[in-house]
């Protein structure tokens, strides 16, 4: 899985593109990358993950998103998923994550 900062990133809005599969192997990598990006962009208030290239989401991947929400909320940072594919959206919806954060599907 690849994590790439998008050009639309502003001082407070961090826009990140996710490509590939988010599973047990790649989930820790996403978490590390988000932490690193937050250190590089300390004024971030919202993280927008563009999931157009995200082809698969496992339970471990969903777990990482849940953990991120839980950790970011006390810091006043929100998480938002954008351009999620229908397959990934169904999983997020099934697990109830669409009710925890804004999820915009393609």
């Amino acid at each position: 899985m690849q994590v790439e900062v998008l050009s639309g990133t502003t001082d407070t809005n961090l826009q990140v593109a996710l490509t590939g599969e988010l599973d047990a192997l790649t989930a820790p990598k996403l978490y590390e990358n988000l932490n690193r990006l937050l250190q590089e962009h300390p004024n971030t208030r919202k993280i927008i993950l563009n999931c157009r290239g995200l082809t698969y989401l496992s339970s471990a991947g969903a777990g990482i998103l849940l953990m991120s929400i839980d950790n970011l909320a006390p810091k006043g940072i929100s998480l938002e998923l954008k351009d999620v594919t229908p397959e990934v959206y169904n999983i997020l919806d099934l697990l109830g994550l669409t009710k925890l954060m804004p999820v915009n599907h393609v």
Binding site: Y31, S59, A62, G63, I64, L66, D70, L95, G96, K99
Partner: protein, 665 residues
């Protein structure tokens, strides 16, 4: 080698030319005192030249004691035949002119000179078996002694005759250094003794009986050489005596040493526990062989620091050997003898190398390569005997076998460990099985639970009846992930759930408390997806919560329709109960006789066939719709059958649970 070859050629040519000169002198100037010096020079040059030529042209491994002895005996027979031939001719020519007679006897002498020269060369190589400086010194010294005594004898025959026994005394160190006798003592001893005896007898006939029988007076050169010829015969006789003595003292010592070396090697390798250990033992064993100066052993594609061993100090040699080994295919057993590394690089020293490779047949991933490569080095260009090559070949082969055995042992151990792990998982799974379901009067239900690949998945189900029988809960949950981690989560959820059931809480409150409990014990990225269906049999109502699990099918008997129930919810254990309360929405309804519910875990809805297509919720729904009037067990059986047909030979890919519940009223 090149110098030896050149020196051998030059000296032999001088020996040949002087032999022809000797013939010329004996014919045209029979009484010339110079001719004897020419004859002696011819003998010395031929002996030395042939010795050097053998060193330069014939590889050491072809100059085995047996081969040298056979050539020696054959030469003796030819020499005897030659002596008889020319002795007979001399008799027939007794009335010819002095010149002709001189030429004929000179031909006999030259024949003896050539024969004796070759004998000395062969004898020299027999002694220099297992080359050592002391041997080279002894052979050279003896040759110089022969030359000096021959010269003195021709200056003063009296002094020469007095000194001649020195030639015989000088044989003692040569006899002492003849360790080839130890090598042959248990191998073809009879043949060796026979060859030596034939040689002694034949030489006695050729150089003793024939000349005295056929010639009236001994020719001058033959007379001068007689002490040397006698020394050759004595040396052969001495070898026979020493061989017999050795036979009495220590039978099979030479062969015994090799056998002992091999036995010790095999015994030590039996206890080897790592490829490195096996290679170290092989290296140590190789070092015990007399000619071995160093060895390089490597397993191809394995990090050199761990598995390559070498006591060869010269980095250039090591690199060349490594390159040579890496150039070989390694796909089949291979051995090569390199007499000199100079052909690979002229700056390299003139040494002997044996390259041996043997493919390794892997069973497991314990070995990282497929070839054992061995290079054994001798500092002498002629260091290895044929026997050494055979022994090195055997050691390489045995080392490869031990590496394979280790691999096999490791593979067996891995299998054993895997079996133990499977047993552990199975026992854990059995320990985590739900308690036996209660017997319910008003509810008919059936559970189909299918484990994936006999490991532990995250599915857990339980049917709980309140102590007064008024409330029945149907629970189906799925922990994130699989394996031991999922099993622990499942165990934690199971314990919390059964504790909460004792408190007889409202369903919603029970889920909030379960969420709080799980959030405390779960890691932040873990969660539990669950479905809880509660029948209130007193009020004839049901209440359904869906926390991250798939939808529930509900058949309403009043309208004969199937509803897909998707109440809002979120997984448990990862979010605070304040948020859960906002999201988790119950689905409530009246229980009517015949009301039918189907729960399923994603193991069934996401079961995929070989082309990767999932069975899906829609197919499940259509099977359910087609069987709503059947019993719960029949419905479950129909679904399982359909899913199995769909996926074909593949398994579900995950745990699969079906829970079919019908309210009887």
């Amino acid at each position: 080698m090149t110098i030896l070859r050149s020196a051998g050629h030059v000296t032999s040519i001088i020996g040949g030319v002087t032999a022809l000169l000797y013939l010329w002198l004996r014919y045209f100037s029979p009484n010339s005192p110079v001719s004897i010096w020419v004859g002696i020079l011819s003998f010395l040059c031929l002996s030395a030249g042939l010795y050097l030529l053998l060193s330069g042209e014939v590889p050491r491994r072809w100059r085995t004691p047996h081969r040298l002895l056979r050539w020696n005996a054959l030469l003796g027979i030819l020499g005897a035949a030659h002596a008889v031939l020319w002795g007979s001719i001399t008799l027939l020519m007794s009335t010819s002119s002095i010149r002709t007679q001189g030429l004929v006897t000179a031909l006999f002498e030259v024949g003896v000179v050539v024969q004796a020269g070759i004998h000395l060369a062969l004898v020299g190589h027999l002694v220099s078996f297992r080359v050592r400086p002391v041997k080279s010194l002894a052979i050279s010294g003896y040759f110089v002694l022969v030359a000096i005594i021959l010269i003195i004898q021709n200056i003063s025959s009296t002094i020469g005759t007095l000194l001649a026994p020195l030639l015989w005394v000088g044989l003692l160190p040569i006899l002492y250094l003849s360790d080839w006798l130890q090598e042959v003592i248990s191998q073809k001893l009879s043949e060796t003794l026979a060859l030596l005896t034939i040689t002694v007898v034949i030489l006695g006939i050729a150089w003793g009986v024939v000349p005295s029988h056929f010639l009236e007076t001994l020719p001058p050169l033959f007379k001068s050489l007689s002490f040397v010829l006698m020394a050759v015969v004595l040396l052969h006789s001495g070898w026979i005596v020493v061989l017999l003595l050795l036979r009495l003292v220590s039978f099979g010592k030479g062969e015994g040493q090799s056998l002992e070396l091999l036995t010790e090697f095999l015994a030590r390798q039996q206890s080897s526990t790592s490829p490195q250990m096996i290679i170290d033992i092989t290296k140590e064993t190789l070092k015990k062989l007399p000619p071995v100066a160093g060895s390089l052993i490597l397993l191809r594609a394995t990090p050199e620091e761990t598995l390559s061993t070498s006591n060869i100090s010269n980095a250039a040699i090591r690199e060349t050997l490594r390159r040579l080994l890496s150039e070989r295919s390694g796909t089949e057993a291979y051995i090569e003898f390199i007499a000199s590394l100079q052909k690979h690089h002229k700056m390299l020293p003139d040494i002997s190398v044996i390259l041996a490779q043997r493919p390794l047949f892997r069973l497991s991933g314990a070995l990282l390569n497929q070839t054992l490569s061995v290079a054994v080095v001798s500092i002498s260009p002629d260091g290895f005997e044929e026997k050494d090559i055979e022994l090195i070949k055997t050691l390489t082969e045995q080392t490869a076998i031990f590496l394979e055995n280790l691999d096999r042992r490791s593979y067996q151990e891995q299998l054993l460990t895997a079996r133990k792990e499977i047993d552990f998982l199975r026992e854990t799974r059995e320990a985590l099985m739900p308690p036996p379901p209660p017997i319910l009067k008003k509810v008919d239900f059936h559970v189909h639970f299918e484990q994936y690949d006999r490991t532990i998945g995250g599915d857990y189900y339980q049917i709980h009846e309140s102590p007064d029988g008024s409330v029945v809960d149907f629970w189906l949950s799925d922990s994130a992930g699989s394996g031991i981690a999922a099993a622990y989560q499942m165990a934690q959820a199971r314990a919390a759930l059964n504790t909460l059931w004792l408190q007889e809480l409202e369903a919603e409150e029970m889920l909030f408390r379960l969420n709080d409990a799980l959030k405390r014990v779960f890691h932040k990225n873990n969660f539990l997806a669950a479905t809880l269906l509660r029948f209130d049999l007193r009020r004839k109502e049901y209440i359904l919560f869906r926390a991250g699990n798939p939808e529930i099918f509900y058949w309403n008997p009043l309208v004969d329709e199937v509803d897909v129930l998707r109440p809002s919810g979120i997984v448990l254990g990862s979010t605070s109960s304040q948020i859960i309360k906002k999201i988790l929405t119950p689905e409530k309804g009246r229980l009517m006789p015949g009301s039918l519910f189907l729960f399923f875990s994603d193991g069934f809805s996401e079961a995929a066939n070989l082309s990767g297509e999932m069975f899906g919720v829609e197919r499940l729904l259509s099977v359910f719709k087609a069987h709503v009037h059947a019993t719960p067990s029949e419905i479950a059986e129909a679904i399982v059958q359909e899913v199995r047909t769909f996926v074909g030979d593949t398994s579900l890919g995950d745990d699969g649970t079906l829970l079919v519940v019908r309210y009887l009223g």
